[in-house]
């Protein structure tokens, strides 16, 4: 109960931080960084449900992210659809796709699951790269502005509002799922799937739900970020981008929703901070990744939490 309370307090703190942050951002570049953090954080919060709570590794979430972006880009730029309709089609389409593939894929365990999700992401990225008549190919395509009800979303500060609200919403959804009966049951048996099954819990249903939700999170922000960036390339759907998402979740702290947010913030900020190192950037980035995982294997937020609360779980 206490733990649950602290989680909902966290949501309030997050909302407050997001509301006050604009005061500290000196120019649009910083708003842009904040927006990218929010975009990544929303994907990471969704992915954390899957990795941290359901114990399933996905190395293909950039595939969903890229699908969202490209469905929106293609429908609005090539076929003149209203952006909101394109966004809805992307989300519903990916939700269906995720639902269909979820059962056979989630039957797989551990590294086989990682392989299958990796394959799914790769196929998406290969199709996007090859069908250049539709997608502009490896060079990418220009995406029109997001317009809804005659209102045009443009500029880093306007988008900041959108992404901040969405992030709070995403965290709220995630907390609700975690606190749902199935989520609680899974945590109660310390993540043991078999024990939960023995206790009569439909773990597969839970995993499918979480898989679909996390895919839709990725699609939604994938689509919005394409409009926001005004440009999209197949890199958005690449394997490395999937790995980045997983890294955010793990560095921030698995099974910690706020950890996912912190992880997204760190991994988005790091390349900006390290950009002055030029040739050494990759080395330093790799070393930071390694050392943080070696010394805080449970991730930043849970490790720090444990330190402050005296190590209790």
């Amino acid at each position: 109960m206490n733990l649950a309370n602290s989680r909902w307090t966290g949501l309030g703190v997050l909302a407050l931080v997001l509301a006050l942050l604009p005061l500290a951002l000196p120019n649009n570049f910083y708003f842009d960084v904040a927006n990218r953090i929010a975009i990544n954080a929303i994907v990471a919060v969704g992915l954390n449900l899957l990795i941290g709570y359901a114990g399933q590794i996905s190395m293909g979430h950039a595939g969903f992210f890229g699908l969202g972006g490209y469905v929106s880009a293609v429908l609005t730029a090539n076929y003149g659809w209203p952006p909101l309709a394109a966004l809805l089609v992307a989300c519903v389409g990916v939700a269906l796709l995720a639902y269909v593939v979820a059962r056979p894929i989630l039957r797989l365990k551990g590294h086989y699951l990682a392989m299958a999700t990796l394959g799914l992401g790769m196929i998406v990225s290969i199709v996007i790269t090859n069908e250049s008549w539709l997608t502009g190919g490896p060079d990418g395509m220009v995406v029109p502005d997001f317009e809804v009800f005659g209102l045009r979303l443009y500029g880093e500060q306007t988008w900041y509002g959108v992404f901040a609200v969405l992030l709070v919403f995403a965290v709220w959804v995630a907390l609700n799922i975690i606190d749902s009966p199935v989520g609680r049951a899974l945590r109660a048996v310390h993540g043991s799937e078999v024990a939960a099954q023995v206790a009569g819990i439909d773990t597969t249903g839970y995993k499918v739900l979480v898989f679909v939700v996390s895919a839709v999170f990725a699609t939604l922000v994938g689509s919005l970020s394409a409009h926001y960036g005004a440009f999209i390339t197949p890199d958005k759907a690449s394997f490395m981008h999937s790995v980045e998402f997983v890294t955010m979740v793990v560095v921030g702290g698995m099974a910690s929703t706020f950890g996912a947010v912190v992880g997204a913030a760190l991994l988005t900020l790091l390349p900006q901070v390290l950009s002055g190192l030029e040739d050494w950037e990759m080395v330093v980035f790799g070393l930071i990744l390694m050392t943080s995982m070696i010394f805080m294997p449970r991730g930043l937020v849970p490790s720090l939490q444990a330190r402050f609360t005296g190590g209790a779980r």
Binding site: P26, F29, G140, T233, K236, Q272
Partner: protein, 383 residues
């Protein structure tokens, strides 16, 4: 209530600081922004580009700068990732407040920057190849390298000169290769060339014999390979392996000494369109480009002890075009610099003689490309 007042005072403070820094900036250096793919798959392009920019910014500063002001190079490495390019361009525009941007190693990175510079209204000279960058013309965007469409035209012209017409096209599925393939397929009929085989390969592939076996069994009379970096060298080796005797053309994407080293004997007899820079010492004395390319070659070799590539040359041209425009504009006023860039006439660079116009933001014609043939492991001019 309290919050909004706080916000207002913060805004006032920020605005006054902004005015202050703008006033200071007028006396400060001229900021040249740049984003290049110094690491990642396009590193072999971005690396000489950055070296060239650093070398010549230092040289210009040593000679007293431009308009009495020093130049300052602000550079970020996009690692060949268009999304990173997009962020760094925002940083250049919003945070560093650069006066002009010279950069964009890849077409993807450049195109990710285009919507931003168009909105911000900052002159941007791209160093990437594809024709989409300047066709249709974009108000603030210019480029220095020859386009892929020109490469196709130059190659097909040479094919026709040899009395041939059926060409097998093998292209890479990278941005460079895809765009090149589309342009070649589009211009082929206009030049009376028929593309009889159209195969592709991945930029990281290690073996292309399967694709080339199909070329071998076809009626094609010549082979054109369109790719960047190491993969065209693998194709050339595979061609030798399968003993394909067709005249072989490569794109301007292999115009560096590296290709000669990687392909070795397999590169003998291969032809490619490239700028005069590669054959600086072979140019006749009256060639207008001779002094420029000889000079650049000497400076670059002296500083880095490396062979020049045309890619570094593109960066040289980009920087010099921008500096030239700033001088003629007499200020760093963005619109004036842009207008000056657009009215560039008769500028002699490593890539050719540049004549820009409101409808042509590259300003090179087909004469800027020389047809080279690889003989005895070196470039030679095809007369």
């Amino acid at each position: 209530m309290k919050q909004s007042r706080m916000r207002r005072s913060a805004l006032v403070l920020a605005a006054s600081l902004g005015c202050l820094s703008a006033a200071l900036a007028a006396e400060g250096p001229i900021k040249i922004g740049s984003f290049l793919s110094v690491t990642g798959p396009a590193a072999f392009l971005g690396d000489p580009e950055l070296k060239t920019l650093q070398l010549y910014v230092d040289k210009l500063n040593a000679a007293g700068g431009v308009l009495g002001r020093k130049l300052e190079l602000v550079h970020y490495d996009d690692a060949g990732d268009a999304a990173k390019a997009n962020t760094f361009v925002k940083r250049l525009l919003e945070d560093d407040k650069v006066d002009v941007i010279v950069g964009g190693t890849t077409t993807g990175g450049t195109m990710a920057a285009v919507p931003l510079v168009e909105r911000a209204g900052v002159p941007f000279v791209s160093l990437a190849g594809a024709v989409v960058i300047i066709d249709p013309v974009k108000k603030w965007v210019f480029k220095t390298p020859h386009t892929d469409r020109m490469a196709c035209e130059k190659v097909f012209e040479d094919v026709k000169k040899r009395g041939l017409s059926k060409v097998a096209l093998v292209s890479e599925t990278s941005g460079f290769g895809k765009s090149g393939r589309e342009q070649c397929v589009a211009v082929a009929p206009k030049l009376g060339v028929e593309i009889t085989v159209d195969e592709t390969y991945g930029p990281k592939d290690t073996d292309m014999t399967a694709q080339l076996a199909k070329v071998k069994g076809s009626a094609a009379q010549a082979l054109l390979v369109f790719g960047l970096g190491q993969s065209p060298a693998i194709v050339a080796k595979n061609v030798a392996q399968l003993d394909i005797k067709l005249p072989q053309y490569q794109s301007h994407g292999v115009a560096s000494k590296e290709f000669l080293q990687l392909a070795g004997a397999a590169a003998e007899g291969v032809r490619l369109p490239a700028s005069a820079l590669l054959v600086a010492d072979q140019l006749p004395g009256n060639d207008p480009q001779k002094p420029v390319v000889v000079d650049y070659t000497r400076e670059f070799k002296a500083k880095f002890n490396e062979d020049v590539s045309t890619f570094g040359g593109h960066a040289y041209d980009g920087l010099m075009l921008a500096v030239d425009a700033i001088k003629r504009a007499g200020s760093t006023d963005k619109e004036k610099v842009r207008a000056a860039l657009e009215s560039t006439k008769g500028y002699v660079g490593t890539g050719g003689v540049v004549n820009m116009s409101p409808s042509d933001h590259m300003g090179l014609d087909l004469s800027a490309f020389r047809m080279l043939e690889i003989r005895n492991g070196n470039w030679t001019l095809v007369p």
